[in-house]
Amino acid sequence: MSAHLLNELTVFVLAVFVGFEVISKVPTTLHTPLMSATNAIHGIVLVGALLVAVVAEPKLGAVLSVVVVFLASLNVFGGYVVTQRMLAMFKPRAAPGASGGVKK
C-alpha cells in the first residue's frame, strides 16, 4: 500500500466516524429528508464525472461521458430540490394555514 493510499484511507476512516457521530443526532422524523440529503451529497461524484469525462479517451466515447455527467447531475439537482421541498413542509405547532390548529 502506498503512502498516498494510506493518506486517503485516513481521510476516509475519519470521515466515517464524523458521519456516524453527526447522523446519529438526526431525529427519526427527519429520516426521509436525511436519506434524500445524503443522496444529493453523493452526487459529488459529478466532480469525478466532469474530471474523467474531460480526459475520456476515444474508446469510451463522448456519448458515455455525457451519460455519466447526466446521471450525476440528475442526482445532484434532483436530490437537493426534493430535499428542500420536503424540509419546507416540516412545521412546528400552529403552522400558518392550519384551519383548526388549536393547541393542546
Binding site: F12, G19, F20, T29, L30, M35, V45, S65
Partner: protein, 472 residues
Amino acid sequence: MSAVQPIVPNALAIDVAYLVTGVCFILGLRYLSSPKTARAGNLISMVGMAIALIATAFELDFAQWLPLVFGLGAGAIVGIYSARAVKMTAMPQMVALFNGAGGGAAALVSTAEFLKLDPSTSILTPDQTVTIVLSSIIGAISFCGSIIAFLKLQELMTGRPITYAGQQIVNGLVALAIVVSAGCVIANADSVPAYFIALGGAALLGFLFVLPIGGADMPVVISLLNSFTGLAAALTGFVLGNNVLIIAGALVGASGTLLTLLMSKAMNRSITNVLFGAFGAVKTSAGDAAAATGSGVIREATVDDVATMVGYAKEVIIVPGYGMAVAQAQHSVRELADQLEKKGVEVKYAIHPVAGRMPGHMNVLLAEANVPYTALYDMDDINPEFPRADVALVIGANDVTNPAARNVPSSPIYGMPILDVDKAHNVVVLKRSMKPGFAGIDNPLFYDPKTSLLFGDAKASVSQITTEIQAL
C-alpha cells in the same frame, strides 16, 4: 497519483475549495439534527456542492466543456422537474431512482478511469486496480438494485418477493464470478475482459439480490443501497485521488449504514434475514391467530359508531401505516384531527420506525398534510401513552400493531417491537378488507373484543368520520 493533471497552476486553491465543500457537507448534516435548522443545513450543503463544481470547472479546458454542459443541463432539468413534480407518497421510489443514478455514475467514472489508464499496454498498481474494481462493482450493484427497488415501489412489478428454486445458489455463483474476475483484474491478467465480466456480474447481482425482497422490507433495502452508493462514491475518490469525493462518500456510507441498522433493529431481524429471508412470501393460514386468541369473531363498526367514539374521547392516538400512503389519506387524516381538536380531543400520532416504505415515510406524508412535527411521536415515546388513550385509530397499519409479535413465539414477527395499540381503551382499525398485512400474518388485534373494524378506502372512511363528527 493524481489522475488528472491540472491545466491551471492553482491546484492548491482547488484543493482548499474541496476542503471547504467537505466542511459544508458535514455542517449540512449537522443542521439536520433539528427540523428548525434543517433547511439551512441543506442550503449549506448546496453551497458546498456549488463550490466544488466551480472549483472543478477551473481544471477543465473550455474546448471540452460543450458536451459536458449538455449532460449537466439535461440532468439538471430532468432532476429539478421530477423533484418538483413527484408526489410525497412516491418519495421512496424517487429516492431509489436518484440513488441509482449516483451509483451508476460512480461505476462509469471508474470504468472511464480504468480505460484511460490503458491496462492492455501498461501494468497497473494494486492501489489502482483494487479501488477501481471495488468502486465499479459496488456502484453497479447499487445502480441495478435501485432500479429493481424503484420498479417494485412504483408497482411496475410485484412488491411481493420473487423467489425460485436455487436462487441463493445462482446469486452465489454470480458473486463468485465477480470475485474471480476482479482477482484477474488485480493480477493484471486479461484485465479488460475480466473487468467487464466483473462489472456485468455486479449489475446482474444488483438485479438478483433485490428480487426476493418484499415491499415491507424496502426501508432496509433503500438504506442499504444508499450506503452502497456512498461507498462507491468514496472509492471513486480513491481512484481519482480526490479528497472531497472520499469525505462525501464516507458521510453517505455512514448514514446509510446507520439507517440500515436502525431499520433492521426496528423489525428485530438481522440484515441477512432481510436480504435472504424472502419475508412475506409464505402466507400462514388465516385461522391461526384467531385460534390463538380464542375467538375468530370480529366486530364491524359503522362510520357513526367510530365518529361517536372518537368525537367524545379525551385522547386519540392515530397510528398511520403504508395503507394511508396508498390511499393518499394524509390530508383527510389531518382534517379529522383538526375537527377532533376543535372538540377538545387531544390527538397524537404514533409512528413506527418501519411504517411505510422508507425510513421516516409517515413523517414526511403527515408533514405534507401540515401536521406539526411536534404531534408525531416515536414508538418509544408513545407506547407508555396507549393505556391512557381512549381510542387508538389505526389507519392502514397492520404488522407494526400485531400483538403476536409480543406473545406468540411461533409468529414470524415474534420479537419485533410494536406499537402497543391493544393497550388503548378502544381500538378502531380502518381497513380495506380482512386481507392480512404484508407479512401475510393474521393479526389477533382484529379479534380483540375492544377492537372495531371499519372497512373501506381509508381516505373515504376518514372523510366520512370527519363529516359525522361535525354533526355531533
